[in-house]
Amino acid sequence: MELIWEGLTEAYWLLITLDPLVMGAALRTLWISTLAVALATAFGLPAGTVLGRVRFPGRQLVVMACRAGMAVPTVFIGIIGYLLMSRRGPLGPLELLYTPWAIVAGEFCLALPIILSITQGTIKALDRRVGETAWTLGAGLLRRWRTYISEARVGVVLAVLAAFARCVTELGIAMMVGGNMPDRTRTLATATAMETGKGEFGRGMAMGIILLMVALLVTILIVSLTRENRD
């Protein structure tokens, strides 16, 4: 208990004084995850809408694959990313390994199936009258799809938030392809693991608290959005 109390106390001071190591890891985590989720949204939203509205041979298989992708361990994505981006890998010449961009790429692969699957489910569950009404009012394909996303906006935002929460807190990808390099690829999750391993519980706790706060914030947003949707 004393250890926990000391850790918490030190964490409090590190946060209040905006400790450079803690804040550096926090900001790095935020921009990497935000970029990865933004890219995954740009791809996942239209693709999820297509999957939800357009029938084509093999659609069910694609949907199942996306849903399975949601459960892939982050360390597995990290291993695959490492193999691809290592010097002997096909992406080796791009020299992405141990750069923030490698983590962005890995977290993109983590976020994409989440956004795809949830968007697909939400769009599919829309009232059939949405598409019919839009079509009978003369809406072209692009406007219809914008309408689908607008009508399903709560579900879409939930998908993005869920993907963001997963990316911010993930460890496997950042460790495998980022290498936890100081001032370069050290994220909150990798730094927490490292500091705790060094016995620096205060710093580890501080970063863990930030991760917890992000997770809590996302949960609060999800709950309030869900409540608004029910109202």
Binding site: D127, R129, V130, E132, T133, W135, T136, L137, G138
Partner: protein, 209 residues
């Protein structure tokens, strides 16, 4: 005196719609001329909605012939339970106009005109989830009328309408003498709403078109 030429807008011959092995709509012969206001009247479950959906182009699996000589862009269809998009009444009213390339300002002015004609001008800024059933129907009707269609297809537009709403619709129909209107109803319609009635139901109950 030279007789006025009538232009056929809708022509149906031996239409039959089956679902799960059951006939849900059967129409031997039905036609509508330009500018006519026709009421399709029949009991619930006789296939009136299905017939209207075929005319609107929403049902494509049928036997027989259904020709609608109005371009899809010149048709408007209002469902029995109209769906209003998230947003306010004005946004919905503008939807079809914006889809046709009207500027926001122009679409707003046109939509407001019809929203006010339908007696819900005070609700233009109201979110659609706060509207009553009758108000929702008026908003959906305003949305359809705003695009000034040549052919208007209305599925039970009088449901949930009060006397004032009914009077409003009658006066609007009187204004739309050039618009072809086909509406369904489970009860007989006044001549101010439909100049002609097509009784819908089992074959033996139909008097003729």
């Amino acid at each position: 005196m030279v007789p006025r030429r009538t232009v056929t807008v809708i022509e149906i011959n031996n239409l039959r719609v089956d679902r799960n092995g059951r006939c849900i709509c059967s129409v031997p012969r039905f036609s509508v001329s330009q500018g006519e206001h026709v009421g399709i009247v029949g009991r619930n479950g006789t296939g009136k909605t299905t017939l209207l959906r075929v005319m609107a182009g929403l049902e494509n699996s049928y036997d027989g012939k259904c020709k609608v000589y109005t371009a899809p862009q010149q048709r408007a269809y209002v469902d029995q339970s109209p769906y209003l998009f998230r947003g306010n009444v004005l946004f919905n009213g503008m939807y079809g106009l914006r889809a046709r390339g009207y500027s926001r300002k122009h679409a707003q002015a046109k939509a407001m005109r019809w929203i006010e004609k339908l007696g819900i001008g005070a609700l233009a800024a109201a979110q659609v989830n706060l509207l009553s059933g009758g108000e929702r129907r008026r908003a959906a009707l305003a949305r359809a009328l705003a695009i000034e269609p040549e052919l208007l297809l209305l599925d039970e537009p009088l449901a949930e309408m009060d006397d004032q709403g009914l009077a409003t619709i009658e006066s609007i129909f009187a204004e739309l003498s050039d618009t072809t209107i086909v509406l369904t109803s489970p009860v007989q319609l006044s001549t101010s709403l439909s100049a002609r009635t097509y009784p819908f139901g089992p074959e033996e109950e139909r008097v003729g078109v």
